[in-house]
């Protein structure tokens, strides 16, 4: 495959994912509103927001790193997405998965977070490092059950190659990791709640105490880029979960359906639960999901996954 074709495919893939991810964001707002008994904004509100922020004439900057923060963030989202094969067997949505395996994706997730943290830090606002400190701490804890789940998956399929993992789950839903290794999936899904920073793990953004957390100083185009990334990055994570635990997708429709369901899971949990304090959420992740993750490894390595 020529490199240009590959780049073109990547462009298509990214565009689809971004649009999809932003739509999901809109839908979430709508759902929250309805749960709260409001009418809510239209589902395309995120697009309007992005356009609005980009059209600001003056961008306020706090320094070079501040400027690079959103760039890092979006690059992180893009990179994460681009190293995941989105649709099994599809050349268009295969992305650059030949560059690395699951470990690469997992660590690329940090790329954007670290960059954003740096940019926000340069903003000089005390709320941003406060939010980042919470976010990083929370990340380090929800990564534990997630990584245990990943290890369990790697043991189960004998591979860290996402395409291989998806391939192994083909041929009926009973082959999905969800059913062959449910403990790992439970652990991973709980950590997804933390990853998506929905309630009860939304303290990082903490809309009440520290208005919007890390991005507080971000404005105009900077904010616009962050908003774009929010859609893309959400999509990337969902696709990753779909691939690892829900059999992947062989076409776009299946992908949309599955990722939507995964997303709705965290949305519903988020809508139903009040927020944890930081230390509560850290402790939570290190307790039950971690135990479940360890159990999943024990089961998969000693009993071959049969419960």
């Amino acid at each position: 495959m020529s490199i240009w074709l590959r780049v073109l495919y990547a462009f298509i893939s990214v565009s689809v994912a971004t649009v999809y991810g932003l739509m999901l964001g809109g839908i979430v707002r709508k759902i929250y509103a309805r749960v709260h008994g409001r009418y809510g904004p239209p589902v395309w509100q995120p697009f309007l927001d992005i356009i609005q922020t980009h059209s600001r004439r003056v961008a306020v900057s706090h320094g070079n790193m501040f400027l690079l923060g959103p760039v890092f963030r979006l690059a992180g989202g893009l990179g994460t997405y681009l190293f995941i094969p989105v649709i099994y067997g599809s050349a268009v949505f295969g992305n650059f998965s030949m560059a690395g395996d699951l470990l690469l994706v997992m660590y690329f997730i940090f790329f954007g977070q670290l960059g954003m943290a740096l940019g926000a830090g340069n903003g000089g606002h005390p709320y941003s490092p406060l939010g980042i400190a919470r976010g990083l701490a929370q990340m380090s804890t929800f990564e534990v059950p997630f990584s245990l789940a990943v290890i369990a998956v790697a043991i189960q399929y004998g591979s860290l190659n996402i395409t291989t993992i998806v391939a192994a789950q083909q041929g009926g839903f009973m082959n999905w990791t969800l059913f062959t290794n449910p403990l790992a999936v439970i652990a991973a899904m709980i950590s997804l709640l933390g990853m998506n920073m929905h309630s009860p793990f939304s303290i990082v953004l903490a809309p009440q105490e520290i208005p919007i957390g890390p991005p507080i100083e971000m404005n105009s185009s900077f904010l616009g880029i962050l908003q774009t990334n929010r859609g893309l990055f959400a999509a990337a994570k969902l696709v990753l979960f779909m691939n690892l635990f829900f059999g992947g997708a062989t076409n776009l429709l299946e992908m949309v359906a599955k990722t939507f369901m995964i997303y709705m899971f965290s949305v519903f949990v988020g809508a139903a639960y009040p927020r944890f304090r930081p230390e509560q959420s850290f402790r939570f992740f290190l307790k039950w999901p971690t135990i479940i993750g360890v159990l999943s490894i024990i089961f998969i390595s000693y009993f071959g996954g049969v419960l």
Binding site: V60, S61, L82, D101, E143
Partner: protein
């Protein structure tokens, strides 16, 4: 040749004459006095020469023209000549030391002194038991009388206690002599042997030996001796500690053949107990001379034990052990007592005054080092051989006591040393000039310490010059120490280059080569940062070179001893480098204690190891063929893990890294820790071929993993930038240890990759922080902030480095993570991998903290005008950055060679397909990742530049802050206790338990020492009671009928 009997005759004759010729003037009598002492030394030197080099047979002198049983006969052999030469030399030098006193006191002191020396000579040479008693009494009485050379209340009471104790002991000795005669009809040692005594007759040798033993001050029947050591004039006390002890010790050596082996074992154990307890009690001591007393008593106990337990080994080893211990004790103890007389400060904490006389300080250090048994001094070799003997004989109780006792001794000696070097809370008092007569003996013994150590290295071990090079480096640099520091810096750089050039052909194995790159090239780059030093930095480059050369010598060491020697040199030099830090007293002491404990373990481990095959070559190459026993592996592993800062034994690490000078820290963190890794790898190589039943490395793997996690946690909670980096090093090396513990191909590739990567980014980080510290003069991160605007170059280094640490693609750190997780999962160490993931997550916390609190956030007012770090700090940083970029872009640059290194020991588990590395589990194309990352970074960047329109740069406090203007950068900078919530969540898990554990160990040892020393009530009668009870107990223990 002049017969040694003239020593006795001359001393006696001149002694009697002195009272007469003194009337003609003190000058004449002093001339005669020193003449005799010099005569003794020269005579013995001559005899010693004849015995050593001409192999003259043992000389037997019959008095009164009759042979042995009728007359008294004397014997002078190699051992006698050796002991007497040094005893007489000490006698002469102590007399020189006392010159001023001797000029003023009554002539009787001179006479007594001569009698004392004569008594010692007679004791060593005589073969007749009763004669021995007489000489013993002459020695004792003259010593008693000399103790009151300084007539103070303390001296008198100590002397009185000494006398009654000595009286009791000599009563028993006399009884013993008579009983020996009663049972055997002979008093001549030549006619007696252990077989001469039937069951009933044993009581005679018991009395004889116990009396001598009491004179040698066994614990706890030795309170009297301590009082003497504490109170009596330094010149005389040096004689008591050295000459008397040597002579009486030799008596014990001579009567040893009469004793049944059960007696000897009990005595040996009593000696060891004395060694252990004296040193333990020394921990609580704050009076300098009493401390030396504890040490003396301990040393004599050790010497006795060595005498007894080496009885069956080959003579050359025995000579080395006994001679080494003896010489070491003699030189350093006399030297220290003399220094005590010069310093004239009772309390250890007041000895800081020594700093005003640099040469004396150096000598003080020399003696402390020698006394602690550190190389190259005689005690080191003795200990090394002794440990081997004990291990071979399976005397593990003795072995443990020797090592624990030595450690205690080292602790109190170096607490003293570091407080002398570092203690700052005192006046600028100047130490008065000691005068020639007092300084000369100290200098002579200082030189002797050095010469004797080179003698041992030359004659007993025949070392290659390269093994001794670290010492020569110190000596060489000390010669040119007055040059400006930059010149020395460049010279050192050249020396390291030359050294590298020299050892390059010796690195036959790729693994050696790899560590050569880390040790030598890494060091060389780090030296650049030291070029920023402005002052003369006296002593710095010498020890730096010593350390670097020792690193290299570790690689090419071909025997256990060479390896251990290099290891110890490395420890010493790094200790001295750390000690240079402003507040490094505690840190360096902690470092030395842990390192020495580790070194002892390594020594024991090597003693357990089977002999190497004679094929030669570096240890790391021949160790493959060595079947290390399990205990050896365990002990060695712990020793190496102490150096690599593994959890549980890591507490030295943060302190040492933080308190060392800021351009020393990179060496310690980035390079020194790798020495431990190198050691572990060496073990691993042996382990591959001879896996023992118990999987040691499985547990080492766990320790590594836990280390990684604890290090990351601790790093997150630090306020001190260098401590943060230190804990980060601990964590990172934990990864390395865990990886190499897998003993798989991929494990080793990842371990080496991590080690290399760590060397680069940690050097860069420490140098960057050194630059920040240089400008801001603070290490507390919350006192900084917003430095990105002032120090952008340093910022970029830190940014790149933390990306490399964290493992975020595309930089080299990700390669490490990819390799290690793949290795773990392939190995089947799943839970370990889970813990590592956690550690890796936590590492983001401290990394962000590091960069944010220093470089981001709000700039402090006092830092408005600071500049970028000096160029000497920037250059090495960017060399390392270039390295990191290179292996990030082209991971094959390093993966391929590492793959080859590991393939020497394992089948390869990875394929390299072009630029993609393929493992059993997955794949990684670092090159492509880099390009994709660049692209995905460039696109939003360009997008942003296009979209953002006009940018307005705002001033410092122009932020969205609820309509308030923040008042000061301090209140707006989130830095202090940044992860309070995290700490709260983890609760008691973040308690420094290890620290608490070691604190309580220290407290317990001190409490125990404090408890046991209560036996020394100061009451003379209690001391007699101790002696009597001791004798009774020994009588029962030995089962004498």
């Amino acid at each position: 040749m002049v017969s040694p009997i003239y020593i006795l005759i001359m001393s006696l004759a001149v002694g009697f004459l002195l009272s007469i010729i003194d009337r003609a003037g003190r000058k004449i009598s002093l001339t005669a006095f020193y003449g005799v002492l010099t005569f003794n030394v020269v005579l013995m030197a001559n005899w010693l020469y004849r015995f050593v080099f001409l192999h003259v047979p043992t000389l037997v002198i019959n008095t009164a023209g009759f042979k042995a049983p009728i007359s008294i006969n004397l014997e002078l052999g190699l051992m006698e000549a050796f002991v007497l030469f040094f005893a007489n030399l000490s006698g002469l030098l102590a007399a020189v030391y006392l010159f001023k006193k001797f000029k003023e006191t009554q002539v009787s002191s001179l006479i007594l002194y001569l009698l004392l020396i004569m008594g010692a000579n007679g004791l060593v040479m005589t073969q007749d038991l009763f004669n021995m008693f007489v000489f013993l009494e002459i020695l004792s009485i003259s010593t008693f009388a000399l103790t009151v050379l300084k007539k103070s209340r303390e001296t008198l009471s100590a002397g009185f206690k000494y006398m009654i104790a000595g009286g009791v002991a000599s009563t028993f000795f006399l009884l013993g002599v008579v009983f020996v005669y009663y049972f055997t009809g002979s008093l001549n040692l030549g006619n007696l042997s252990a077989g001469s005594f039937t069951n009933v007759g044993l009581v005679s040798v018991f009395l004889l030996s116990i009396a001598v033993f009491i004179e040698l001050k066994p614990f706890p029947a030795n309170g009297w001796a301590l009082d003497v050591y504490q109170s009596v004039d330094s010149g005389i006390v040096s004689i008591i500690a050295v000459v008397n002890s040597a002579a009486i010790g030799f008596v014990f050596y001579k009567i040893m053949p009469l004793l049944p082996s059960e007696f000897l074992t009990v005595f040996g154990i009593a000696g060891i107990v004395t060694f252990l307890f004296s040193n333990m009690m020394g921990l609580k001591q704050d009076n300098a001379k009493r401390l030396l007393g504890y040490s003396s008593i301990g040393q004599m106990g050790l010497l006795l034990a060595a005498l007894i337990f080496t009885a069956n080994v080959q003579p050359s080893v025995r000579y080395l052990v006994i001679g080494g211990l003896f010489l070491n004790h003699l030189i350093s103890k006399a030297g220290l007592f003399w220094l005590a007389g010069i310093v004239k400060q009772d309390k250890i904490k007041d000895w800081g005054i020594l700093r005003s006389r640099k040469p004396l300080l150096v000598l003080f250090g020399l003696f402390i080092f020698a006394l602690s048994g550190l190389p190259p001094f005689a005690g080191f070799w003795a200990k090394w051989e002794f440990v081997k003997v004990l291990v071979d004989a399976k005397m593990f109780f003795v072995l443990t006591s020797v090592l624990v006792g030595s450690l205690f001794e080292l602790i109190f000696l170096f607490r003293w040393f570091t407080s002398v070097v570092k203690n700052t809370d005192e006046t600028n008092e100047q130490l008065a000039s000691p005068g020639k007569s007092k300084a000369t003996p100290v200098i002579v013994f200082g030189l002797m310490a050095v010469i004797s150590s080179f003698g041992i290295m030359r004659f007993f071990y025949e070392f290659n010059w390269i093994q001794v090079l670290p010492i020569f480096a110190v000596l060489a640099i000390s010669l040119i120490d007055s040059l400006p520091s930059k010149v020395k810096g460049f010279l050192s750089l050249a020396a390291v280059a030359g050294y590298g050039y020299y050892i390059y052909p010796l690195l036959e194995n790729n693994l050696q080569m790899f560590f050569g790159v880390i040790f030598i090239i890494g060091s060389a780059i780090n030296i650049i940062a030291t070029l920023n030093r402005k002052n003369q930095s006296r002593g710095f480059y010498g020890f730096l070179l010593m350390m670097i050369f020792s690193f290299g010598n570790l690689l090419i060491a071909s025997t256990y001893l060479e390896f251990f020697l290099a290891w110890e040199f490395m420890t010493i030099s790094s200790f001295l480098l750390i000690l240079r830090g402003q507040k490094a007293q505690r840190a360096s002491l902690l470092y030395l204690i842990f390192s020495t404990a580790g070194a002892y373990l390594i020594m024991v481990g090597f003693s357990f190891a089977p002999a190497l095959s004679s094929s030669g070559g570096a240890l790391i190459n021949v160790i493959e063929l060595v079947n290390l026993p399990l205990v050896s592996i365990i002990v060695l592993a712990i020793g190496f893990m102490i150096k690599s800062g593994s959890a549980g034994v890591h507490i030295w690490l943060p302190e040492a890294h933080a308190e060392a000078e800021s351009d020393v820290s990179p060496f310690i963190s980035a390079i020194l820790l790798k020495a431990g890794v190198f050691g572990l790898l060496m073990l691993g190589i042996s382990y591959i071929s001879f896996t023992p039943s118990f999987d040691v490395f499985y547990w080492i793997g766990w320790v590594g993993v836990i280390t990684a996690l604890i290090g990351a946690f601790m790093a997150s909670f630090q306020e001190d930038a260098k401590k943060l980096l230190a804990y980060s090093s601990m964590s990172q090396v934990g990864y390395v240890v865990a990886a190499l513990a897998m003993i798989t191909h991929l494990g080793w590739v990842s371990a080496l990759y991590l080690a290399f990567n760590h060397m680069m980014f940690k050097s860069a980080l420490f140098i960057a922080i050194a630059g920040v510290y240089y400008r801001t003069r603070t290490r507390k991160m919350y006192e900084m902030g917003g430095l990105i605007a002032k120090m952008p170059l340093s910022y970029i280094t830190v940014l790149m480095s933390i990306i490399a640490v964290s493992g975020v693609p595309p930089l080299s750190g990700f390669g490490a993570k990819w390799l290690i997780y793949t290795a773990f999962i392939t190995k089947g160490w799943y839970l370990q991998a889970g813990v590592l993931f956690f550690a890796s997550g936590v590492s983001f916390l401290y990394l962000y903290r590091l960069i944010h609190t220093i470089f981001l956030g709000q700039l402090k007012y006092e830092h408005q005008d600071i500049k970028e770090a000096p160029v000497w700090f920037i250059i090495p940083q960017y060399i390392f950055m270039a390295g990191i970029m290179a292996i990030s872009m082209f991971p094959n640059l390093i993966i391929k060679p590492l793959n080859v290194i590991a393939m020497k020991y394992f089948d390869s588990s990875i394929q390299i397909d072009g630029l993609t590395v393929i493992s059993e589990l997955g794949h990684w194309n670092g090159n492509l990742v880099m390009y994709v990352t660049m692209a995905v970074f460039a696109i939003p960047f360009i997008l942003l530049l296009v979209l953002k329109g006009k940018t307005q740069k705002v001033k410092q406090f122009n932020i969205v802050y609820a309509a308030e203007r923040p008042e000061s950068p301090q209140t707006t900078h989130v830095a202090h206790n940044m992860y309070a919530h995290f700490r709260k969540a983890l609760g008691k898990w973040t308690l420094p338990r290890v620290q608490l554990f070691w604190d309580s160990v220290a407290e317990w040892s001190h409490t125990l020492g404090g408890f046991f020393r209560r036996v020394y009530t100061g009451n003379g009668q209690t001391y007699i009671l101790h002696i009597v009870v001791y004798i009774v107990v020994m009588y029962v223990v030995m089962g004498v009928k």
